[in-house]
């Protein structure tokens, strides 16, 4: 097949609305804001799993924190009726991702699992994806990070350590997905079973607020969760079609 054919074929494929429904999987996460208590266990789990650096006080003061999942906090009202709500914010793996269109070198793209992936070694560091991302979940390596020995022994060998000048973000723990598929292949299964793979944040969430799975599978846990009437997407009006769906926080007045 010539280059031109290949190009026009993929062009047709990706121009088709809803093309991602034909994908092998459509990995999706639901986050129940009524369960989330803001404990940030997910944040540390992600840091441990994905080799996130310790950027240090100075860099955080300059606004360069690196946590692929973060807890945003929003106050409503004033004392004594102040209320604080937490919302975990991570890469939404949008099906119509603004970041994917802007990268000049296609370092970020949609793969066949419906994931918005970032190829670190392709990134040239224009940072335009971070500008285009309305959720601010892309993190840039402003310098090389160091792990004073022996902290480096903790680094996960399944995940790269990103160098300076590279954009990075939540991958839905793609290394775990890859291994789960590998297992499925070893067992002669065509597909990964529901619940067989969980990103680090979902795995550790003490309140079980996070649910992860394949929404192409109607019986999966996450598909059922998506049917919840409380389901909504953050900044839905931008039509980015995120794969992370939130379940509304329940607020009642009086017991």
């Amino acid at each position: 097949m010539s280059v031109v054919d290949r190009f026009s074929e993929s062009w047709r494929k990706y121009r088709k609305p809803g093309y991602y429904e034909d994908f092998d999987y459509a990995w999706t996460m639901t986050i129940d804001l009524d369960r989330c208590n803001g404990c940030e266990a997910c944040v540390t789990a992600c840091q441990a799993e994905n080799n996130l650096p310790i950027v240090g006080e100075e860099d955080i003061a300059r606004g360069r924190q690196m946590q692929w999942i973060r807890i945003e906090r929003y106050w409503d009202g004033e004392y004594p009726n102040a209320r604080l709500s937490f919302i975990p914010m991570l890469c939404q793996h949008c099906d119509a991702a603004p970041c994917e269109t802007v990268c000049p070198v296609s370092a970020t793209y949609h793969n066949q699992d419906g994931l918005n992936v970032q190829v670190y070694n392709r990134c040239i560091g224009t940072r335009s994806c971070a500008v285009y991302c309305p959720y601010e979940v892309r993190y840039f390596n402003y310098s090389n990070h160091h792990w004073p020995a022996p902290l480096d022994q903790q680094l996960n060998p399944d995940v790269s350590v990103r160098e300076k000048g590279v954009m990075e973000k939540c991958t839905f723990c793609i290394q775990r997905i890859r291994q789960a598929k590998d297992h499925a292949k070893d067992d002669g299964r065509r597909r990964v079973r529901d619940g067989e793979v969980q990103p680090a944040c979902v795995q550790t969430c003490p309140t079980e607020a996070l649910v992860f799975g394949d929404r192409n599978d109607p019986d999966s846990q996450v598909s059922r969760s998506l049917n919840d009437p409380r389901a909504y997407r953050v900044l839905d009006e931008l039509n980015t079609r995120p794969s992370v769906v939130y379940l509304k926080k329940v607020v009642t007045d009086g017991g």
Binding site: E57, R73, R224, D228, V250
Partner: protein
């Protein structure tokens, strides 16, 4: 070429050589660096490169006793996750627990035994274990047993037993377990009310209505991960959505998660509890035989009076009381600042009374009592309260202590400066520290025998409180020791050997001792008799947890009339007068560092505080209205002055705090403790008044009044978050649907671990 002369030729040769050299260097510079492939000389069993091995062990980052699975690859620990089989955390784990890896791989660990010559300001020199152990053993042998103190962090299981044997062998009764956050008042209250010196199991999972009096049960109280599991399930896992009420002067993590946050006047939680009890009894929501006794005991706590004392409106009290009684099963818990106040035990007894009145005892969704543990001895009598520590300091001052062995606890940091504890240590001739880190107490030691971290040691643990049935877990090393350190148990056994205590302590290693202890459990085993011990032991190591499905009969509970008669709560007492010190200081355990033990972990330093998103520092929380009055703005450096000293920290405007209260997180302000903790923020414990709770002698850490003095300076308040208001953008959306919605994450809760290929 004939027209090239000699000069040109030389030029060309020169140019050519420069070119060749440049090309060569260029090619050399882009070459791949040499990498090595270094196999083990003898590979460990069950090891293969590229394939992860999971070891189950026990988390020691706090006292909850969660089971953990540690992923290792190529002999290095890579990640800590919850052990799915463990009943406490069921596969889940908090941030601090996961940061345990950085305890193991901390760059500031003590790597060899260290000895300090001369006074306690000089440097340490490296010594061998043999020298170190002999030095201690010689000293221990030469002094009277009663003059030897062993001050340990709170330990359970076999290590606690070993300490008992060791101290008994030395002829000393001076064995103390000291933790800053040990809930002395809760034990005392349970003892007084239920006659049970024990913590019950709080069944949040099935509770439909929870009243929490100051207990930050999702952040730092007792067993946060287990409570989190229960909270999540109660919220959206069942048929009816649970309703959570948090009563505390400063909104904690649990307060934010709760449906309702009630800022009662600090220290009046007990009054409020009794006010609710009064309303329940008076409105006929309690129909027990002893109703009249209750009526008379609670007569003084009429709704109107309590409302005035607690600053909670009467209709709120009435509403809470009604809802608490009607929405069964309900649960009332108390702790935190409410428990560590001048009348902490009274407060918690009042909370217990609430549970009693609506019948929450011994039933699902209420509180259940635990069977006695099978492993180790209860260490409750060994638990050092604030009062005990004052006595220890006094003994030290009088010269009654010859040797103090400190194991992984840091009283110099967690005791108020006004106690003079640090200075008192000067009166002790020999201080031996078994710590893995150079913390403030270890920095004052003469001899350091560094322990393994928990990820390198053998041991076992019984979660406290239990989960309603008998359970225990074994901890095993997940990696080979990084440094020339030894397990605490092995150090004690080594000393015992040198001292000739081998009769009572014949074991050569902690592993042998633990295994021997578990032999006894196997021998008495109810459901394990079919297997031989080795199979049993292997099964436990694999599962990481052992349990017996033996529940205690929680059926009948009769309350003594004297208990009812003695119920009461006083107005709180504070150190410092209202006029000079207008604010109540509300120190709270940091969600990330607890009592400061997590401050040396870079992940924890970099984890934003859940409520404020501040990292790497301390702050003073002020109600925006108060700040306006004082003319203070976010980030202004203020001095917090109590009658016993002052600390400085930047102001953080916090909408969820009473205007007459200021709050500070505990955990920062270390003078030692490694590069990540040292000289960062400030420690509010320093300025606390040395006031003990009246019944238990526990430190009443929320009973100090302070004043604020602006310094006129700005301080760096490093925050990860920007503006914490939604501005109508619908980011966190809410609904008022109260019914359970059928979303059930429970089904998927057992993680199937993806082990590397």
């Amino acid at each position: 070429m004939p027209d090239i002369d000699r000069r040109d030729f030389l030029k060309l040769v020169g140019a050519g050589s420069v070119g060749v050299a440049a090309g060569f260097v260029l090619a050399e510079s882009i070459k791949h660096p040499v990498e090595y492939l270094i196999p083990f000389p003898v590979p460990p069993e069950d090891y293969s490169p590229g394939i992860a091995t999971w070891y189950n062990t026990v988390c020691r980052m706090c006292a909850a006793g969660c089971g953990i699975s540690v992923r290792t690859r190529e002999g290095r620990a890579k990640k800590i996750e919850g052990n799915p089989a463990h009943p406490v955390n069921q596969g889940r784990l908090c941030a601090l627990g996961q940061a345990g890896l950085q305890v193991l791989y901390n760059p500031d660990r003590l790597t060899t035994p260290l000895l300090r010559d001369g006074d306690r300001t000089g440097p340490f020199t490296q010594i061998t274990w043999e020298e170190g152990l002999s030095a201690v053993a010689d000293r221990l042998a030469s002094v009277d047993g009663g003059r030897i103190y062993l001050l340990s962090e709170g330990v359970r299981g076999h290590l606690a037993g070993l300490f008992e044997l060791f101290m008994a062998g030395l002829g000393s009764n001076r064995l103390l377990h000291y933790d800053f956050d040990y809930p002395h008042t809760l034990y005392a209250a349970n003892k007084r009310f239920y006659g049970e010196n024990n913590l019950p199991y709080y069944d949040l999972r099935n509770a439909r209505y929870l009243l929490s009096f100051g207990a930050d049960y999702l952040g730092s109280w007792i067993s946060p991960v287990h409570h989190g599991l229960g909270f999540g399930h109660s919220r959206q896992g069942g048929e009816v959505r649970g309703y959570f009420v948090q009563i505390e002067p400063r909104m904690s993590l649990s307060g934010a998660a709760a449906d309702e946050w009630i800022a009662a006047s600090p220290g009046t939680e007990g009054l409020l509890a009794l006010g609710l009890a009064h309303h329940i009894v008076a409105e006929g929501l309690y129909e027990g035989d002893d109703r009249d006794d209750w009526m008379s005991a609670l007569a003084a706590y009429s709704t109107a009076r309590v409302a005035e004392q607690t600053d909670v409106p009467t209709n709120t009290i009435a509403r809470l009381a009604k809802a608490f009684a009607r929405n069964q099963p309900s649960l009332a818990i108390g702790g935190g600042a409410a428990g560590n106040h001048s009348g902490g035990v009274d407060t918690l007894v009042a909370v217990n009374a609430l549970n009693y009145l609506v019948g929450n005892l011994g039933k699902s969704g209420g509180l259940l009592f635990n069977p006695d543990p099978v492993v180790g001895r209860p260490t409750r009598s060994r638990r050092a309260s604030f009062q005990t520590m004052l006595e220890l300091a006094e003994d030290a001052r009088r010269g009654n202590i010859e040797v103090l062995i400190v194991n992984q606890t840091n009283p110099v940091f967690t005791l108020p400066a006004a106690t003079g504890f640090k200075e008192a240590l000067a009166g002790i001739p020999l201080i031996v520290s078994l710590s893995s880190f150079m913390d403030e107490t270890t920095a004052l030691a003469d001899l350091i025998l560094p322990s393994h971290t928990y990820l390198e040691s053998w041991g076992d643990d019984i979660p406290e409180p239990g989960v309603g049935f008998r359970t225990a877990s074994v901890s095993q090393p997940v990696v080979s020791p990084l440094y020339d350190t030894r397990a605490t148990g092995d150090i004690v056994l080594g000393l015992a050997q040198k001292l000739g205590l081998t009769d009572s302590m014949p074991w050569t290693s902690m592993k042998e001792y633990v295994e021997q202890g578990w032999r006894q459990i196997h021998a008495r085993g109810a459901d394990t008799e079919t297997r031989d011990f080795q199979a049993f032991w292997r099964a436990i190591l694999q599962a990481g947890v052992w349990g017996e499905k033996l529940r205690r009969d929680n059926g009948a509970f009769a309350l003594d009339k004297s208990v009812i008669d003695n119920i009461g709560a006083q107005q709180p007492e504070f150190s410092g007068s209202n006029d000079d010190f207008p604010f109540v200081l509300h120190p709270y355990l940091s969600n990330t560092f607890l009592d400061g033990r997590g401050a040396n972990l870079p992940w924890m330093q970099e984890l934003p505080d859940p409520m404020t998103s501040v990292v790497y520092g301390s702050w003073v929380e002020l109600n925006p209205a108060t700040a306006r009055q004082l003319g203070l703005a976010q980030g202004d450096l203020v001095r917090v002055e109590s009658p016993h000293g002052s600390v400085s920290a930047p102001v953080y405007l916090y909408p969820g705090i009473r205007p007459d209260v200021i709050a500070m997180p505990i955990g920062q302000g270390h003078a030692e403790y490694g590069r990540y903790a040292r000289n960062r923020g400030s420690n509010p414990i320093e300025i606390l008044a040395p006031r003990a709770e009246s019944h238990t002698g526990a430190l009443a850490w929320s009973a100090t009044r302070v004043k604020l003095a602006a310094t006129g300076k700005k301080a760096a308040l490093v925050q990860t978050g920007g503006t914490s208001r939604q501005l109508g953008r619908g980011i966190v959306q809410t609904t008022d649907a109260t019914a359970g919605s059928g979303h059930n994450a429970r089904l998927n809760s057992i993680p199937i671990k993806v082990v590397s290929t």
